[in-house]
């Protein structure tokens, strides 16, 4: 009789350890996913000075646009905390979009290989940032599910596994993008 009890206790203990470890692994994946986002953001910041120099070579008098980009980049690098960073990221995206729109008017710039490569790299980086966020949210979902589903939520509660927030789209990015071609008159708006 005692053997049965020992057996049951042993099975329960193993199950407990397994569940705890699973929760830990899921939580760690979230942190890894977050640093992946960070890596891609840094990559983006590192590309920008090169881009600014290339554009300056051909379109030096687009000072406003260039300044906006440099400033936005600095803000993003200095930002601390998720909300500040998200906001700075958004402003930087807008400034870059403006820069590329403006460079449409300079055919020599558009033909420059360096410029094209940088443009492709930045587009690629934006893609990577988006995918990194997507992956991050998927990890948070998996973790939240594990935390809240019935048998595991008991253990999650016992060991204080807190909820992790999703990476939400910034409220500004949901507004229409305004592209100003410098003349101030035409303002194209992409379809919603």
């Amino acid at each position: 009789m005692t053997w049965i009890i020992i057996g049951i206790v042993a099975v329960l203990a193993i199950a407990l350890v397994a569940v705890y470890n699973r929760l830990v692994r899921l939580r760690n994946r979230i942190e890894a996913a977050w640093s992946q986002i960070d890596v891609q953001l840094k990559r983006r910041y590192d590309l920008i000075p090169n881009l600014v120099e290339t554009v300056k070579g051909y379109a030096a008098h687009e000072r406003q646009t260039l300044e906006a980009v440099i400033q936005a980049r600095q803000q993003a690098v200095d930002a601390r905390g998720i909300e500040e960073q998200a906001q700075a990221e958004n402003i930087l995206t807008g400034a870059l979009r403006q820069l590329f729109a403006v460079s449409e008017a300079y055919p020599e710039l558009r033909a420059n290989q360096n410029f094209l490569a940088l443009q492709e790299e930045l587009t690629g980086t934006e893609g990577r940032i988006a995918f990194a966020r997507q992956f991050f949210n998927e990890q948070v979902l998996a973790y939240d599910n594990a935390r809240e589903v019935f048998p595991t939520n008991v253990i999650a509660g016992m060991f204080n596994f807190e909820a992790k927030p999703y990476f939400e789209a910034e409220t500004e990015s949901r507004e229409n993008v305004r592209v100003d071609f410098g003349q101030g008159n035409s303002q194209a708006q992409p379809p919603q």
Binding site: E120, E121, G124, G127, R128, A130, F131, A132, F135
Partner: protein, 299 residues
């Protein structure tokens, strides 16, 4: 796949019963089959790349390709696979490698030229989905099982031919009936096993399509790519039957032509059973049935 394993176990049992070798026949067949197929599984990437004469994709010449694959690898949580380019006008792509760490993706130069960024991303997502779902492993298992069936059939034939009835007759009529059933089975089974293998291949293609859309959250990319593939007539030069199941669209000109003609009728149905890929039309239809694919939003 589970059905396949059950079938093989049943055939193994029949073999054991008919020849009197018991389960050792099945064990030996499995061992042999594994020996024959797993060498090529372990070196699947080297073999597939060499067979198609793929060259590593230079990061500067194919910057967009590398950027797309990096992004998708992040989304899938996989290490970035090695990238190769095959010099061929026909747009196509394949993924290979025994596991995600040793994975490689190859695209034809035709694909890079003819697809836009969205479509290229869709195709690459499909290939990464193959890697994520470990389809090389799945297909190797299927091929191994086919091998087991073929071996058992072969051995059973030899055993019966050379008269392996050195045991007591098990009740006259019933024994003979089972022996006859065994013979029929050994003739039909290899064919049936092959059909199962092709069916599994087609299913994995649908699965890869679905997982690709899950990665990109953008079914239009892959759907438009498949439409372009449908319209394109060229067939890949350096493809063979052995690697056919790896490509996104069947590279074999005969399969392609059949798929495009959208042939109907009993003969065509029979042919379709042997195809490694589902018809492009079905794949496009399946993609459009996802809730995102209603076309309600434009990129």
């Amino acid at each position: 796949m589970i059905g396949f394993v059950v079938l093989v176990a049943a055939i193994g049992w029949v073999f054991g019963y008919v020849t009197g070798f018991g389960y050792w026949g099945l064990v030996a067949a499995v061992a042999f089959s594994i020996l024959m197929t797993w060498g090529s599984y372990f070196n699947s990437d080297k073999i597939a790349l060499a067979m198609s004469r793929a060259q590593p994709a230079d990061p500067r010449a194919h910057l967009q390709l590398h950027n797309l694959v990096e992004g998708l690898a992040i989304a899938a949580g996989l290490p970035k696979p090695r990238l190769y380019v095959v010099q061929d006008e026909a747009p196509n792509a394949f993924a290979t490698g025994r596991d995600p760490k040793h994975a490689a993706v190859a695209v034809t130069s035709g694909l890079v030229e003819k697809m836009n960024r969205d479509e290229l991303e869709g195709v690459l997502a499909h290939e990464l989905a193959h890697i994520k779902n470990r389809d090389t492993l799945v297909m190797t298992l299927a091929v191994t099982l086919v091998g087991v069936v073929v071996l058992l059939g072969d051995w059973m034939l030899r055993a019966l031919w050379w008269g392996g009835h050195d045991r007591d007759d098990r009740g006259g009529g019933a024994g003979a009936a089972i022996a006859l059933f065994g013979v029929v089975l050994l003739v039909v089974a290899p064919l049936f096993a092959q059909l199962l293998q092709f069916a599994i291949s087609r299913r994995r293609e649908f699965l890869a399509d679905a997982d690709a859309v899950f990665l990109t959250r953008h079914p239009q990319g892959l759907t438009n790519a498949l439409r372009k593939l449908q319209a394109d007539q060229t067939a890949v030069r350096s493809a063979s039957r052995a690697t056919a199941h790896l490509w996104i669209e069947s590279p074999l000109s005969l399969e392609k032509a059949r798929g495009e003609r959208g042939a109907t009728g009993a003969g065509a149905w029979l042919n379709r059973l042997f195809e490694t890929h589902p018809p492009l039309e079905s794949r496009i239809e399946a993609l459009q049935q996802t809730t995102l694919g209603s076309g309600a939003f434009t990129p």
